[in-house]
C-alpha cells in the first residue's frame, strides 16, 4: 500500500497508509491528519489542503494544472517552489510520499 508521511509545522510525523487512486488530501482527511482542512472536498476550490512536498518526491507527481497553480497563490501560508494542493496528488502503488503541512490553512 502506498504510504504518505505527513510532517506538521512543529515537526511531528505521522505515517498514513492509503489506497492507490485516492488523493493525498483524502488520505489525510479520512484519517484525521491535522493540518489538512480541505473544505471543498477536492474540487479545487478552496486551497486549504496545501502541502510542501519533499524535493525528491516532486518528480513522482503529476504536473500542475493552471487552476491549481493559481489557487496556490491564495494559500494561507505563502507558497514555495515545492507547494502543491494535496487534492491533486493521487497515490500510486509502492510510492512513498513525504509532505509537510503548513502552520495554518485558513
Amino acid at each position: 500500500m502506498p504510504t504518505v508521511h505527513f510532517t506538521d509545522a512543529e515537526g511531528a510525523v505521522r505515517d498514513v497508509q492509503g489506497n492507490p487512486g485516492d488523493s493525498v488530501m483524502e488520505t489525510a482527511v479520512r484519517n484525521g491528519v491535522p493540518g489538512i482542512v480541505a473544505e471543498c472536498g477536492g474540487s479545487l476550490s478552496c486551497a486549504t489542503c496545501h502541502v510542501f512536498v519533499r524535493e525528491d518526491c516532486l518528480s513522482k507527481l503529476p504536473p500542475m494544472e493552471d487552476m491549481e497553480d493559481e489557487m496556490l497563490y491564495g494559500t494561507a501560508v505563502d507558497r514555495e517552489d515545492n507547494s502543491r494542493l494535496s487534492c491533486q496528488l493521487r497515490l500510486i502503488d509502492e510510492i512513498e510520499l513525504f509532505v509537510t503541512t503548513p502552520e495554518t490553512q485558513v
Binding site: V29, R30, G32, C40, G41, S43, A47, M67, M71, G74
Partner: protein, 447 residues
C-alpha cells in the same frame, strides 16, 4: 493518534439507575448530534480537537456513512468520483475518537429537561439519551406541487439516495427537463448535458441563480450556458407533468412537461431543484424559537440556551464583519456548516468564540468554476473584471467604497484576493480594481 476515553459518569439528576446499567431511563451522558452531514461531522471533529472528552453520538437518518454532498450533482453524477471517496472519515477514525456512529435512525420526538439533558426517540423505537443536544438537521428539497408531480421519473437531488436514483435512470433517458435555475439545477443540468442528454432548464424567475449572485454574474452564466448548448428558458414554469399514453398501460412514468403556454417538452426525467426548506420539526416540538430556520445566537445556541443548532437549519446573526446590527441570515453552504460547527464546538466546551471566517461558496458548472467570497447583500457599486481571452470573469461588490464580496468565474486569483482582504478587514479600491490586468492582491489596502 490521540485517544479519548469515554467519561461515562452519571451527571444529570432525575434519571433512574446507575451508570452502565440497563434501565428504561438510560443515563443521560454525552452529546447527541442529530444529523450526520457536513456540520454534524465537523462538530464532532472540532470537539475532539478542543479536548472535549465525553462520548459523542453522531446520528443520521440515512443508511450511508457520513459523506460529502457537493459532488452529488457533479463528479458523482458523471461517474468520475466513486461513493467511497465521498466518505468523510474512516471507521477507524470514529472508533479512535470515541464517536458512536448511528445510521438509519430517524428521530421523531425529543424529551428534554431545562438543564439541557434528555432522550431522543427514533421511529424504530430506539432511545438516545444525552446530556447535551446538537441539531444539525439540515434542510429538505422543496417539493413542486403540480399535477403529475408524483409520477415515476420526477426526481429531486438532495442526498446520496437521490443521486443514485437519478444515476440509475440516466442511461435510459434522452430528454431531461430541469426545473429551477439555481446552483443545483445548473450543476445537474451541466452534468447531464455532458453525459449526452438533451437538457432544458426552466427558471420561474427573470434570471438565473436567484439572489445568490448579482445581476451581471447571472447574465454571464445565462450566456455561457446557452453558448454551450443548454436550453434555458427564463420566466417559465411547468403547468403539469404528463405521462405516457400507451393504451391499456398504467401511466406511471413521466413523459413530458407541459408549460403554461401549452408547449409540451418531452422528458423521461424531470429533475426539480427549486430550493430547500430547513428542517425545524424537532426544534418546534422542543418549543425552540423558529423563524426561517432554528433561531440561534452568535454562539450557535438556540432559544433554550443549551441546545446548539448549526448549518443549513440555523438562522443566525449575520457573521460578516460590518453587517447591520440585528441582521439575521440562514446560509446554505459547506463553508458555513464548517465555521458554524466550530462556533458551536466552543460553546459546548464552555468558551465563547464568534464566527471567524468569511462566508464563501463554490459551484462547478461545465467548465465554469464559480467562487463567491463574502455576501453581496446591500451593495451600492460593482466593478467588472473580464478577460475574454482567458475566460475569466469577476464582479467585485462594494458598499460605501468598501469591498464586501466577489463573484469570480475561472478567476481563483481574484477570489482569493477578495476572500483574504475581507478576512483581514482590508479594502481593494474600486478604481484600480477595474483593470483586469492588475492583480487584486497588489492593490489591497488597509482600510
Amino acid at each position: 493518534m490521540g485517544t479519548h476515553v469515554a467519561a461515562a459518569e452519571q451527571t444529570s439528576a432525575g434519571t433512574a439507575g446507575a451508570a452502565g446499567t440497563e434501565t428504561d431511563s438510560p443515563t443521560r451522558t454525552g452529546l447527541l448530534i442529530i444529523g450526520a452531514s457536513q456540520s454534524g461531522v465537523q462538530l464532532a471533529v472540532s470537539l475532539r480537537a478542543l479536548g472535549f472528552d465525553e462520548h459523542i453520538t453522531l446520528l443520521g437518518d440515512e443508511d450511508h456513512r457520513p459523506y460529502q454532498r457537493p459532488a452529488l450533482s457533479k463528479e458523482f453524477l458523471q461517474g468520475t468520483v466513486e461513493s467511497e471517496s465521498l466518505i468523510f472519515r474512516s471507521n477507524e477514525y470514529w472508533a479512535d475518537h470515541n464517536v458512536g456512529l448511528v445510521k438509519g435512525e430517524y428521530i421523531v420526538r425529543i424529551d428534554k429537561d431545562p438543564d439541557g439533558s434528555g432522550v431522543a426517540h427514533s421511529s424504530s423505537g430506539r432511545q438516545f439519551p444525552f446530556k447535551r443536544l446538537a441539531l444539525t438537521v439540515g434542510a429538505r428539497a422543496r417539493k413542486l406541487e403540480v399535477d403529475g408531480g408524483d409520477l415515476d421519473g420526477v426526481l429531486y437531488l438532495r442526498n446520496a439516495d437521490d443521486a443514485l436514483a437519478l444515476k440509475a435512470r440516466v442511461g435510459d433517458a434522452q430528454d431531461v427537463v430541469v426545473i429551477g435555475g439555481g446552483f443545483i439545477g445548473l450543476e445537474a443540468a451541466s452534468s447531464l448535458q455532458k453525459m449526452g442528454k438533451n437538457v432544458t432548464v426552466l427558471e420561474f424567475g427573470p434570471r438565473l441563480v436567484g439572489r445568490a449572485v448579482g445581476e451581471e454574474t447571472a447574465e454571464y452564466f445565462l450566456q455561457a450556458h446557452r453558448a454551450r448548448g443548454l436550453d434555458i428558458r427564463l420566466n417559465t414554469s411547468a403547468k403539469r407533468f404528463t405521462a405516457k399514453t400507451a393504451a391499456g398501460e398504467k401511466q406511471t412514468a413521466v413523459a413530458g412537461v407541459e408549460l403554461q403556454d401549452g408547449t409540451v417538452l418531452p422528458a423521461q426525467i424531470v429533475l426539480v431543484g427549486i430550493g430547500v426548506i430547513p428542517n425545524t420539526q424537532l426544534a418546534e416540538q422542543l418549543g425552540l424559537t423558529v423563524d426561517n430556520g432554528i433561531v440561534v445566537d452568535r454562539f450557535a445556541l438556540a432559544s433554550d440556551g443549551t441546545t446548539v443548532a448549526i448549518g443549513d437549519c440555523a438562522n443566525m446573526p449575520n457573521p460578516v464583519p460590518g453587517s447591520e446590527p440585528g441582521e439575521r441570515i440562514r446560509l446554505e453552504s459547506v463553508n458555513n456548516a464548517i465555521e458554524h460547527a466550530k462556533v458551536a464546538a466552543y460553546s459546548l466546551t464552555g468558551r465563547r468564540e464568534e464566527y471567524a471566517g468569511i462566508p464563501w461558496f463554490w459551484s462547478n458548472q461545465a467548465d465554469l468554476k464559480l467562487q463567491i467570497a463574502g455576501l453581496c447583500n446591500g451593495y451600492d457599486q460593482t466593478v467588472l473584471r473580464r478577460d475574454e481571452d482567458r475566460g475569466k470573469f469577476s464582479v467585485i461588490y462594494y458598499r460605501k467604497g468598501q469591498v464586501i464580496a466577489a463573484d469570480c468565474v475561472n478567476a481563483p486569483l481574484d477570489f482569493m484576493a477578495v476572500k483574504n482582504a475581507l478576512a483581514k478587514g482590508q479594502n481593494i479600491p474600486a478604481g484600480a480594481a477595474a483593470d483586469p490586468a492588475t492583480p487584486l492582491k497588489t492593490i489591497t489596502t488597509d482600510s
